[in-house]
C-alpha cells in the first residue's frame, strides 16, 4: 500500500465518521451553503459541526501550510480529499472569497505579519470577505478605477490612508466583515498607481446598498467610501504595485467561476433530464460531449497549474469556456423543464429555482471579466496576436 492509499483509506474513514448525514445532501439553495463570518447564523447544528470538524483538521484549506490554518497536504493528497468528499456527496464546509481569492494572493504577496493575522481567520471562517474591484463607469476597464486613497499623517498618532470613492458589483458587501479593495494611490500611471488595500467594513464611512438582479436575488451591492480611515500597514504588496496582486487574484477568481455549476453532478445532463424529444436529446448529447471534454480539461489544468506548467493566461480560457458552457446547460434545463421551469412563484416551484438559476448564469460571462475580455487576454498573451 502506498502512502497515498493509506491517506485515502484514513480520509475515507474519517469522513464516514465525521461528515453529518445532512451535509451529504445536495445543495438546494444558497441557504445551504455556509459562508461564515462574524454575523453568520448556522442553518443547522450539522452545518456548524461540519465546519468545526473540518477547521480542526485544516481541511477547509487543505493545501495551505499548517501555520496558517491549513493541513499542508500535497496536491495529490488534496485531490484525494476532494475525490473522497465527492464520493459521499459531502458539501463544502465553507464557501469563502477569503479561501478562493484573497488567501492565494496573501500567500504570495502578503507580509509575514499579514499572513499570520489574516490567513488563520480565513481558514476558520471567522471573517467573511468581499472584493472591491469594479467601479461605476470602469466596467471591463478594471484599471480605470477612481476610488482614491491618500496618505495622511494622523494627528492622534499613526499614519493612515484616507479612502474616498465608490465600488459596484461588490458581491455580498452587505454581509461581509472585511473588504479587499483596489484603490488609486497615484494618478501618474494607469496601472502602476493602484494599491491593494484591506479594511474592516464597519469602519466609519463605509456603506452598502444591494442591487436587485434579474434573477430576483441580490448578491451584489454598491459600496460607498466616505473619508474611510485605513491603517497604513493594511496594504498588501508594495504601494502602487497593487495591479500585480489584483491580476494574480483574478486568475484564481476566474478559475473559481469557470468551475461554477459544472461538475456538480455525477452523471451527464442527459441522464438527469432524460429528454424524450429527439431534437432536444441531440442537443443535450452535444452539450454532454462538450461538458465532459471540459471536465477533462479542468482536471488537466488543475494538474498543470499545480506543477507550474500552466500558461499564466490559461484561467482566462477556462473561465470563458466554462461560463459559456454553464449558460448553455441552464438553457437546456429550462427547455427540458418546459412550462414547469417558468414558475417563479408557486407551491411547486421551490422559489422559482430553475428560472432563477438560469438567470443567474447569465452573469457568469460578465462577472470576473467578460468573455470578450478573456478572449482578448488569450489572443494577446497566449497567441501573441498583434495590437491586442
Amino acid at each position: 500500500m502506498t502512502d497515498l492509499d493509506t491517506f485515502r483509506s484514513e480520509t475515507r474513514a474519517w469522513l464516514e465518521t465525521n461528515c453529518p448525514p445532512e451535509m451529504r445532501e445536495p445543495v438546494q439553495s444558497e441557504k445551504d451553503m455556509c459562508w461564515g463570518g462574524r454575523n453568520w447564523t448556522f442553518q443547522s447544528d450539522a452545518q456548524r459541526v461540519w465546519l468545526e470538524r473540518m477547521v480542526e483538521r485544516g481541511w477547509t484549506v487543505p493545501h495551505w501550510p499548517r501555520d496558517y490554518g491549513g493541513a499542508g497536504l500535497s496536491p495529490a493528497e488534496a485531490k484525494v480529499l476532494k475525490e473522497e468528499m465527492a464520493r459521499i456527496g459531502a458539501r463544502s464546509p465553507l464557501s469563502s472569497f477569503g479561501i478562493s481569492m484573497l488567501g492565494p494572493a496573501l500567500l504570495k504577496f502578503g507580509s509575514d505579519e499579514q499572513k499570520k493575522r489574516f490567513l488563520p481567520e480565513i481558514a476558520r471562517g471567522e471573517i467573511r470577505w468581499c472584493q472591491g474591484y469594479s467601479e461605476p463607469g470602469a466596467g471591463s476597464d478594471l484599471a480605470g478605477l477612481q476610488t482614491k486613497a491618500e496618505a495622511v499623517s494622523g494627528e492622534e498618532g499613526g499614519d493612515h490612508w484616507l479612502v474616498n470613492g465608490q465600488k459596484v458589483w461588490t458581491s455580498y458587501a452587505d454581509k461581509a466583515d472585511w473588504i479587499f479593495c483596489l484603490v488609486r494611490t497615484s494618478s501618474e500611471s494607469k496601472h502602476s498607481g493602484i494599491s491593494f488595500l484591506l479594511f474592516d467594513m464597519t469602519t466609519p464611512g463605509v456603506s452598502t446598498k444591494p442591487i436587485l438582479l434579474i434573477s430576483g436575488n441580490s448578491p451584489f451591492c454598491e459600496t460607498f467610501f466616505d473619508d474611510v480611515r485605513v491603517p497604513k500597514d493594511q496594504v498588501v504588496g508594495e504601494v502602487n504595485r497593487g495591479w500585480d496582486v489584483a491580476k494574480y487574484l483574478l486568475g484564481h477568481e476566474r478559475e473559481m467561476i469557470a468551475g461554477m455549476g459544472l461538475g456538480a453532478t455525477d452523471g451527464t445532463l442527459g441522464s438527469i433530464l432524460r429528454p424524450d424529444d429527439p431534437f432536444l436529446r441531440a442537443e443535450v448529447a452535444a452539450f454532454d460531449v462538450d461538458a465532459l471534454a471540459f471536465a477533462a480539461m479542468s482536471e488537466r489544468f488543475f494538474e498543470m497549474f499545480k506543477a507550474g506548467e500552466a500558461h499564466p493566461a490559461s484561467p482566462s480560457m477556462m473561465k470563458y469556456a466554462g461560463t459559456e458552457l454553464n449558460k448553455r446547460r441552464h438553457e437546456l434545463v429550462m427547455a427540458a423543464g418546459g412550462s414547469d421551469a417558468l414558475e417563479w412563484d408557486s407551491e411547486r416551484s421551490s422559489e422559482g429555482k430553475a428560472a432563477r438559476d438560469w438567470l443567474r448564469t447569465k452573469a457568469n460571462s460578465i462577472e470576473g471579466g467578460t468573455s470578450e475580455i478573456q478572449l482578448n487576454i488569450v489572443a494577446k498573451h497566449i497567441l501573441g496576436l498583434p495590437g491586442a
Binding site: G270, S271, R281, A285, D288, E299, R300, F301, M318, Q374
Partner: protein
C-alpha cells in the same frame, strides 16, 4: 489526470522532430499524391517508423514491442495529425495490433508490424454510415473453413494491406452484437476496388463473392468477434481523436501565423478583434479536445469503466473542434487558402476523412447518450 511522464515527453519529442522532418506534407502527402502512388504512403517512411520502434508501440514487450498504451499512441498520432503524415500507423500499429492482441494472429503478424513490412486494415462499414452492430456480411462454415459473402467500404489502407481484419456474421441477425466473428483476411481473397479519398489517402471497397477462407483466419472466438472488434474500434476511435487534435492544432498554428503576417487596410489582420476572438476561441477548444483525447486514452489504459464513454466524448469533440479549426483556417487565409498550392486546404480534407472514420460526430453523440442511459 496525471501529467505526462518524462518518458512520455521524450516519446513526444521524438515523434515531433521525426514527423516534422520526414513525415511532413511536402515530403510525403504531396509527393505520393503527385506521383500517383498506389499505396498512398512511402514504404521507406513506414520502415523508419519500425526502426524507431514506433510500429511496436502497442505490442507487448515480451513480443518485441514497446508495450506502451493508448496515451503513447495518442502522442504519436497527434504529431501525425499535425504534419498530415501519410502512414498506416493507425490502422496497423494501433488498431490492427490491438485487435489481434492475445490471439494466434499476434505471433503471425507482430514481426512484420515491428519491422515495418506488414500493413493491416480494418473492414467494418457496409454502408456510408458507421454501424458495426448492423453487420450483415455472412461467413458460413464449410468444411474446415468459411465462405464469405458481402461487401465492405471505407477500408482505410485496405488496398495495400497484407491482411484485412474483417467482421462478418456467423450467427444472429443485423443489429445484434452476438454472432459476429472477426477474420484476418489475407491478400487475394476479396475483390478489391481501390479508392482515393478526398485527402488523397487510399482506401478500398471490398467484395466477397463466395470467398473461401481457412478456419485459422478467425481472430479470437467464432461468434465472439465483438470483443476484439470493440478493442480495435476503441483504440481506433481514441487514436483518431488524437490525430484530429493534431490536425486542428496544425491548421490553427498555420492560421495564427498567417494572422501575424498578412496585411490588409494597412494593418496586420491579426489586429482585428473579430479575428482575434475567433482565434482565441479556437485555442481553447483545441486544449479541451486534447484533454478529452488524453483522458480517453488514459481511461482505456487503466481499464476504467468510463473508458467507452470518454472515447465517444473524445471522438465527437475532436471531430467538431477540428472541423471548426479547418473551416476557420481556410476562411481566415482568404483566397490563398482555396489554392492547392497552400497546405491549409489539405488540413480541411484530412479532417473530413478522419471525422468520418470509425463513427462521425453524430454517431458518437448518440453513443454518449446511450452510454448515459438516455
Amino acid at each position: 489526470m496525471p501529467l505526462l511522464t518524462d518518458d512520455q515527453k521524450m516519446l513526444q519529442e521524438t515523434a515531433e522532430s521525426f514527423l516534422a522532418e520526414e513525415g511532413g506534407p511536402a515530403k510525403q502527402l504531396r509527393h505520393w499524391r503527385d506521383t500517383g502512388c498506389t499505396d498512398g504512403y512511402g514504404t521507406d517512411l513506414w520502415k523508419q517508423f519500425g526502426e524507431l520502434g514506433l510500429t511496436g508501440i502497442c505490442i507487448p514487450e515480451d513480443q518485441g514491442g514497446l508495450g506502451l498504451g493508448a496515451v503513447e499512441a495518442a502522442l504519436v498520432l497527434e504529431e501525425i495529425g499535425r504534419n498530415l503524415t501519410s502512414s498506416p500507423f493507425l490502422t496497423t500499429a494501433v488498431v490492427g495490433a490491438r485487435a489481434i492482441e492475445g490471439t494466434a494472429h499476434a505471433e503471425r503478424w507482430y514481426p512484420g508490424i515491428l519491422s515495418g513490412d506488414a500493413v493491416l486494415a480494418l473492414a467494418v462499414d457496409e454502408s456510408s454510415r458507421h454501424a458495426p452492430e448492423k453487420t450483415a456480411m455472412t461467413a458460413e462454415r464449410r468444411g474446415n473453413g468459411f465462405v464469405l459473402n458481402g461487401a465492405k467500404q471505407f477500408v482505410v489502407h485496405g488496398n495495400s494491406a497484407d491482411a484485412v481484419l474483417t467482421v462478418a456474421r456467423t450467427a444472429g441477425s443485423p443489429g445484434e452484437t452476438q454472432g459476429l466473428t472477426l477474420f484476418a483476411v489475407p491478400k487475394g481473397i476479396a475483390n478489391v476496388e481501390s479508392v482515393t479519398l478526398a485527402d488523397s489517402s487510399k482506401a478500398a471497397r471490398l467484395r466477397f463473392d463466395n470467398a473461401e477462407l481457412d478456419a485459422d483466419a478467425v481472430v479470437g472466438e467464432v461468434d465472439g468477434g465483438w470483443a476484439p472488434l470493440s478493442r480495435a474500434l476503441g483504440a481506433g476511435r481514441a487514436g483518431v481523436a488524437a490525430e484530429l487534435v493534431g490536425v486542428a492544432a496544425g491548421a490553427t498554428a498555420m492560421t495564427v501565423d498567417y494572422l501575424k503576417q498578412r496585411k490588409q487596410f494597412g494593418k496586420l489582420i491579426g489586429e482585428f478583434q473579430a479575428l482575434q476572438h475567433r482565434a482565441a476561441h479556437l485555442y481553447g477548444e483545441i486544449e479541451i479536445a486534447r484533454a478529452a483525447a488524453l483522458k480517453a486514452a488514459e481511461l482505456m489504459d487503466s481499464g476504467d469503466d468510463k473508458a467507452d464513454l470518454m472515447v465517444a466524448v473524445a471522438k465527437a469533440k475532436a471531430a467538431a473542434v477540428s472541423k471548426l479549426a479547418v473551416q476557420e483556417g481556410v476562411q481566415m487565409h482568404g483566397g490563398i487558402g482555396m489554392t492547392d498550392e497552400h497546405d491549409i486546404g489539405l488540413y480541411m480534407k484530412r479532417e473530413a476523412v478522419l471525422g468520418e472514420l470509425f463513427g462521425d460526430v453524430y454517431f458518437h453523440r448518440n453513443r454518449v447518450a446511450e452510454l448515459s442511459g438516455y
